[in-house]
Symmetry: C2
Subunit: 415 residues, 2 copies
């Protein structure tokens, strides 16, 4: 497959040997994930199992939303928005995204900045709007209060009845405040799969509904996810996970470096995936996003000469959608050369400089900015993350530490 993700390791022979020694455990971890008897593994093989009637319902609803609004505001935090945002930034090929007549997707409720939300309301208030609230419980503060502010806007704009008809929800099938409100108010809802955690949920209604509303070819995205279940791609994930598990014992920080701004939001999604899955029990490496070339002129100094606490995962698009060939009377030696060639030179220059100071490097080559490639990339990363966690001996699907700040926050508000 020429159009599949490839991973190249420059980590030194010793780390690859140690990783190869984990092979049997990586095989067992993969089998355990696929056995279906572990909690929160609903994302495993989900794309292949997605019922046609659910997919059709998502598409129909997304088309209805697209016909009704200029702005589609998705309210959610963490896994409820990072995946959709990643895909919207990543997918830019015309054969993967038909944006004519589709709304702009905006996000709310991932902070409680009055400035952010006041500016958002100011932007959308004179055009048609639909809302999507994504929350398992409906109780989390940030999306709850953003939802209240946006519902108020819609009620004032459209009157209560039409306002309620413009609200869509993804929530628990049976329980919680948002389920009760949805039933009372007649929101069109999709079920948040109970066995899929937020950070593994982009390939589920959580990601698919807003992406289809924005015009992304979600069937291609699903086909990409399915393609990542070939034996070859699963082997790719097992090896990536094994190398990461070895490096977790030697390093403190994993930098995820992107060479194209279209990958910046995917990087943010990756930080949640890996940070929340592996950072527990005093374990894990801190995942940090790095924008290239920008950060070579800022943090690059630290990477090169500061404390050697890193390994780095480089995310490189092999065939970008757009390229520019340099010309003009001042172009000199650059005449006829292209931005994609320069970007490759940045990759090679950075890798050479970092090899010289023994930073272990993992290069992830992503074929193109298509929906198919995005689906494949997401599934490879999810599988890699889950296997790494199992190899480390942590539960890659819980997040007990997230509750601590929520409790402190509610204590403060009750005072």
């Amino acid at each position: 497959m020429s159009d599949a993700i490839k991973i190249v390791y420059e980590t030194g022979a010793e780390i690859l040997e140690d990783a190869a020694g984990l092979r049997a455990r990586a095989d067992a971890a993969k089998e355990r994930l696929y056995a279906g008897d572990m909690d929160f593994t609903g994302w495993v093989n989900y794309a292949a199992r997605l019922p046609e009637d659910l997919l059709s319902d998502i598409e129909r609803t997304a088309d209805e939303i697209a016909a009704r609004c200029k702005y589609f505001v998705v309210i959610g935090i963490g896994g409820s928005y990072l995946g959709a945002r990643a895909a919207l930034s990543f997918v830019d090929r015309a054969d993967s995204k038909a944006t004519a007549g589709r709304p702009e997707v905006l996000f709310a409720g991932f902070n409680v900045s009055g400035t952010y939300h006041a500016n958002l309301i100011d932007k959308i208030k004179d055009d048609d709007v639909c809302l999507l609230i994504i929350s398992k419980s409906g109780g989390t503060l940030e999306p709850s209060v953003a939802f209240l502010a946006l519902k108020k806007l819609l009620t004032e704009k459209y009157g209560r009845e039409e306002a309620l008809s413009r609200i869509y929800a993804i929530t628990d099938e049976h329980n919680g405040k948002l389920r009760a409100e949805s039933d009372n108010n007649g929101y069109k809802t999709f079920i948040l799969p109970p066995d899929i955690g937020g950070r593994y949920s982009v390939i589920s209604p959580v990601g698919l509904l807003p992406l289809k509303a924005a015009g992304v070819d979600i069937r291609a995205l699903l086909a990409g996810a399915v393609s990542a279940e070939s034996e070859e791609m699963i082997d790719l994930a097992k090896k990536f996970a094994s190398v990461r598990a070895v490096l977790e014992q030697k390093k403190t920080v994993e930098t995820f470096a992107f060479f194209d701004p279209s990958v910046e939001d995917f990087t943010a999604w990756s930080l949640q995936l890996f940070g929340e899955s592996e950072g527990k029990d005093g374990r894990g490496v801190l995942p940090v996003g790095v924008g290239i070339s920008r950060d070579l002129h800022s943090l690059g100094q630290f990477f090169q000469d500061g404390r050697q606490i890193f390994y780095e995962t480089l995310l490189f698009i092999e065939n970008p959608t757009h390229d520019i060939t340099v010309s003009g009377e001042d172009a000199g030696d650059y005449t006829g050369r292209s931005f994609s060639e320069f970007n490759r030179a940045v990759l090679e220059g950075m890798a050479k400089a970092h090899r010289a100071v023994d930073i272990p490097i993992i290069r992830v080559f992503i074929p193109e900015n298509s929906a198919y490639a995005f689906g494949q990339l997401v599934y490879v990363f999810e599988l890699t993350c889950a296997i790494t966690g199992l190899l480390m001996g942590v539960n890659p699907f819980d997040q007990p530490g997230v509750e601590a700040y929520k409790k402190g926050m509610l204590d403060y508000l009750r005072k």
Copy 2:
């Protein structure tokens, strides 16, 4: 001063005692910076020394640019764009920013993504455009090739003569490729102060020209920077620097957490300032940007339960420009409460949760999103960073590690 930055420490008594022990050395470091006999300290006291004729020239030129274009593209990398971008995102008070009739400022040349630059060209091509190229030498690859692509657009659009009249440059007074080109082509230029490094340059023509073009009140910004030279504010910076120098010996990572998206780009500027100044000789803590509440639902798990490698600097706006009070029939207990109160609750909840696992916390309270507050904040951070570096025994003004990737990149292109 009620409108000044305040810093509150929750680091434990021992760290504060150790920091107090550095007082004499912090005093000496400050004196050394102000003595004027150290290289690259041109930023020290710069705002107070800025000649009125230079300031007037910047304002006149910025007004001319504003009258001539809808899009003003600033081409630069690292310190040549992060500071201006930080101010543009931060300053949102109407009394600090008059945007009517001013161009949108866009940035280019901080990566070599063909997709990014093709999309940028597509956005601006049908409207009036001016360019600002900021480079000491004119030789750095990324801004050079972005400049070539944008010059080509302007030449095709306006013809050679008018195209050249729409190009402005900030570069070395005497030397380099860009100086020669500017002289040959008659670009209006400003001098890049030779004793100010990129990451300390936002309060210089580098930041002031694009900010004034965008309508920012740069005289208020300069007044803010001058206000940071009061004895009280310099003491604030000395203590901040001393605490950071102590923590550098105990921790691996400093997270800079922002509670309002308006502070996100300031955070990115801070990462360059601290990472490039302190990360050398195998020293320094890695500065990492964290968006709140977003990252409490992603990396928050790691902060709480992963490896305890952090201390955190919280950047909180005390009086945000916009607020929203919650109301509506579903608002329940939240009725009548405001987003700014919720954001404060997030701060307190996070601090409580992190204190419980002994993460040292430094709270930086920023009075408001004004140009004055921005100038003050920048100068406090620059002084803090320089003093921290001197306390650590590293040179806070060089960046030898940045050259390594550039060399590798040019080697690759020559092949």
